[in-house]
Symmetry: C3
Subunit: 156 residues, 3 copies
Amino acid sequence: VNDEEALERLAELGLELPPPPKALAVYVPVVVAGGFAFVAGQVAMQEGSPLYPGRLGADVTLEQGVEAARRCALQALSALREALGSFDRIDRIVKLDVFVASDPRFTDQPKVANGASELLAAVLGDSGSHARVAVGVASLPLGACVEIAVTAAVRA
Amino acid sequence: VNDEEALERLAELGLELPPPPKALAVYVPVVVAGGFAFVAGQVAMQEGSPLYPGRLGADVTLEQGVEAARRCALQALSALREALGSFDRIDRIVKLDVFVASDPRFTDQPKVANGASELLAAVLGDSGSHARVAVGVASLPLGACVEIAVTAAVRA
Amino acid sequence: VNDEEALERLAELGLELPPPPKALAVYVPVVVAGGFAFVAGQVAMQEGSPLYPGRLGADVTLEQGVEAARRCALQALSALREALGSFDRIDRIVKLDVFVASDPRFTDQPKVANGASELLAAVLGDSGSHARVAVGVASLPLGACVEIAVTAAVRA
């Protein structure tokens, strides 16, 4: 991934990277080891609160879920760039795990997950395409509607 | 894994690989990077619809769940072979993540997951044995009853 | 990680490693491949039964959930040490996946997960800090309240 081009694509999308998540006492935002970067699960935050709390199929609309997933991906990119110093070191996003807080009758998790997948592809180009798992869970931290985890293959 | 032997074992089981899942716009069926192959989450499909939609402990029986898990594993093997060109390149299945759509009272996720685990071992032999995570989720894409994700260590 | 020091820290915490989980027919407790060790999902067990069965936000308290998560981490460490022969071979815990059986209204999964995260840091020091995903699921094997999966970067 070319760092400058990725930043330009973000600007063209009218987006900017949010501040990277802070290192916490008990776990860290990103671990880089063995040729991979493992990004901790991101829930979409806005001014210290979860964006669109609740569950899909109940109190959160599909559009809100998509936007939350997109925001999660943006946060994960910010965490990755902070840990690696530059997008240049990303060889490939290899895996995207998407957990959607869901009423048992909600089965459109892939549409929600597309919000994250499309952002990664838009910003990182071919290197942003990934294998994906999307499931509907009972609930998420802080009452968030979506949580995503990103794994990337990285260069030394 | 010896490709020819694996194909023979499939035939002996009376099984054949389904057509590999198609590459989609926003994510891909398999990413190979850093010595591993990451297979996207598979839900058991039959003629374009999910096999046994619903939840275990509610509208799907244990036997149906096991069969769906087995079918997911077969689809994952098909995706892997398509991406790698041959089973020869599989060094080891390292991880199997099994998500079972579950009524909160259903706790037999391991029995469902065995449908996938046993198929991998039957087809790939010792290289098919893996670490496994099995959990019960609220709901899955398309209303599927099981989704599995496979990670393999691969040779260049 | 220095094996002797890690064992000393365990003793100082008044803890000991439980017997490592047995190899099962259909999957294995740990797979080591490609520079990583993948530990199968652990549910907290005590004398053959799950410790504190049930769901957080319903029939299991936060304190019980934290203790169960801690116990899961201890079991994972035992499995890792058995597979690797010594903690010396652990370069870094890279990822902790925490699945908390949750009533849909329960959103304190991070507090439960801290039980596992803090134990890993206490025993393994800096090498124990990790990226983490914590989600609330509908149900878990045997009715367990928490299941965790550990991935470690390891040395040959």
